[in-house]
Amino acid sequence: MSRMSYSKALGTAIAEEMRRDENVLCIGLDLAYYGGAFGVTRGLAEEFGTDRIMNMPISEAGYTGLAVGAAATGLRPVVELQFGDWVTIASDQLVNQAANMRYMFGGTLSIPMVMRLPCGGGGSAGAQHSHMFESWFSFVAGLKVAAPSTPADAKGLLKTAIRDNNPVIFFEHRQCYQLQGEVPDDPEYLIPFGKADIKREGKDITIVTYSYMVHMALEAAKILEKDGISAEIIDLRTIKPLDTDTIINSVKKTNRVLCLQETWLTCSVASEVAAIISEQAFDYLDAPVKRFGSPDCPVPFAPVLENYVLPNTDKIVRAVKEMF
């Protein structure tokens, strides 16, 4: 175990996989020397050279498609967008090409690539630097979607993503990069996709969440504990595939559930989890499923507005209490 940041854990995962497999390479803006938008690839160019840590022109569709073509022909590209917001520019290559290709081509090739997307609000980055698009990509057949919350999960999931033979959209929350935690040194530390993690056991309510909101939920659970409410926190870790079993088993125990996420609710991960629970655990519910996320507005700039909009510990505590 070593103590390190989420950002460092991601960098470590990439470095280990690059040492292990010479077909792994990194593609993105300012990755070499500068270290990418959040320092994840800092130091890697020194070890692996700029043929493997490649700085691109500002052409998100172009270099995402470059990665698709490279992946189709035997490389394992790890692409970084500086902010996940502009995956909108790259989404054709991900959705119409990468996600479809193996299927359309009858299984004759595969697209082993990872798309790393820093995401989420906070810090007055404004509407164009705060989006979360995990629901978009979870919708799409042929893609996988991961969204780690802790340094250890970041390492274990990114390594699994790089070894996965499918396109994986990997959401890294901006507010997580500086979080510190214990991370296994084992270069075979792999976290399987489709296995949620119960980050806290509880018996009165299940909070299903992922990414940065896991930390808010854990804070909220501490406060709720004092009021006699014992919350179980499920960190989904991957959204596609989704660990339905862990969710359902928890709900069977607690009989109450809050589906929590940072962003808008319509057609979202929270909607999906709520729908699954009402389909599969209907008879175990003591109260209606509840969803909590952001109201339907873009993320505003001014701190007072941004705070008003984004979920936080207090709001989660309030939302849970309303369910009792």
């Binding site: 390479l25 043929d51 490649m54 691109m56 022109p57 052409s59 569709a61 172009g62 270099y63 995402t64 498609g65 470059l66 990665a67 698709v68 073509g69 490279a70 992946a71 189709a72 022909t73 035997g74 490389l75 590209p77 054709d92 290559q93 119409n96 090409q97 479809n100 290709m101 193996r102 299927y103 359309m104 081509f105 009858g106 299984g107 004759t108 090739l109 595969s110 082993p112 057949a141 042929g142 996988k144 033979n165 499918n166």
Partner: protein, 318 residues
């Protein structure tokens, strides 16, 4: 230029022609599902370019892709069966006309997204350079596609990193019904090469010898590590945008003028004139090709449908 290669070029062009004309009839008879964009009239491009490639070189193709598939060595039985949506097709009936791939031949797919294949070919070229395996990649695309952002972004990347990739624009003057010079101010696509600091060449896309020559030069250049070339092939398609389309936008006189340059008519004459083959030889090839295509149709019609449940397979790789 190798004589056998030139004869093979005729055979390949003729294969494409007969294949496409059969597809046209079959589609109009509703024997084939989906819709089809034919390569008739443009055969010299795919054949000229692919004749300059090795079996393991890569190509990406377009919605109008049967010609590229065949020119790159595609099996016409598997190709036809795919258009029929049969289990024996290249992609088990999952892809169809606009989504056929044969990775073992370096064919990374026809493509339903205009401009979608250009970055993918560039990525294949990156693989080749990364692995130093000596391969090159070719992106085929239309004049319409040259207005897509992917054209700009991918060629800039290919140029900046000196990737072994050749960008082949099939300029048939139209995108669907739209005369492309009404939505683009420059006459030639080749001038756009200047925006990326790479050579831009114009060639008569009805002449397979000429196409081969410029393609060979571009391929050699790419293999030497000198980076991409943009090749613009002037051409014209003989049919409407897709089979069953209205033809109101087509310019009949222009079409007639281009038909005079039809490679399927002109090229065998040239081969005969140059004494490379005689009339009988040409006829023999034609007969063989026609028989092969009939067999491909037979093969396809006798092939089983995919198992319905196979629809759920091949989504994810293990």
């Amino acid at each position: 230029m190798d004589l056998k290669l030139r004869i093979k070029m005729f055979r390949d062009m003729y294969t494409i022609r007969v294949f496409e004309e059969k597809v046209r009839v079959l589609a109009m008879q509703n024997k084939l599902p989906g819709f089809f964009h034919l390569y008739v009239g443009e055969e010299a491009i795919a054949v000229g370019v692919c004749s300059a490639l090795n079996k393991d070189d890569y190509i990406t193709s377009t919605h109008r892709g049967h010609g590229h598939l065949i020119a790159k060595g595609g099996d016409i039985n598997k190709a036809m069966a795919e258009l029929y949506g049969k289990a024996t097709g290249y992609n088990k009936g999952k892809g169809g006309s606009m989504h056929i791939a044969a990775p073992e031949l370096g064919i990374l797919g026809t493509n339903g997204i205009v401009g979608g294949g250009i970055p993918i070919a560039t990525g294949a070229a990156l693989s080749a350079k990364y692995k130093k395996d000596g391969r090159v990649a070719v992106a085929f695309f239309g004049d319409g596609a040259s207005n897509q952002g992917t054209f700009h972004e991918a060629i800039n990347i290919g140029a900046a990193f000196n990737l072994p990739v050749i960008y082949v624009c099939e300029n048939n003057l139209y995108g669907v019904s739209t005369r492309q010079t009404t939505v683009r101010k420059v006459e030639d696509i080749a001038v756009r090469a200047q925006a990326y600091g790479i050579p831009g060449v114009i060639v008569d896309g009805t002449d397979p010898d000429e196409v081969y020559k410029v393609a060979k030069e571009a391929v050699d250049r790419a293999r030497r590590g000198e980076g991409p070339t943009l090749i613009e092939c002037k051409t014209y398609k003989h049919h409407t945008h897709f089979v069953g389309d209205t033809d109101s936008y087509m310019n009949k006189e222009e079409l007639e003028a281009w038909k005079k340059k039809d490679p399927i008519a002109v090229y065998p004459k040239r081969l005969i004139e140059e004494g490379i083959i005689d009339e009988d030889g040409i006829n023999q090839i034609k007969k063989e090709v026609e028989e092969a295509i009939e067999k491909a149709i037979e093969f396809s019609e006798n092939s089983p449908d995919p198992r319905p449940e196979s629809a759920l397979e091949d989504v994810y790789a293990d």
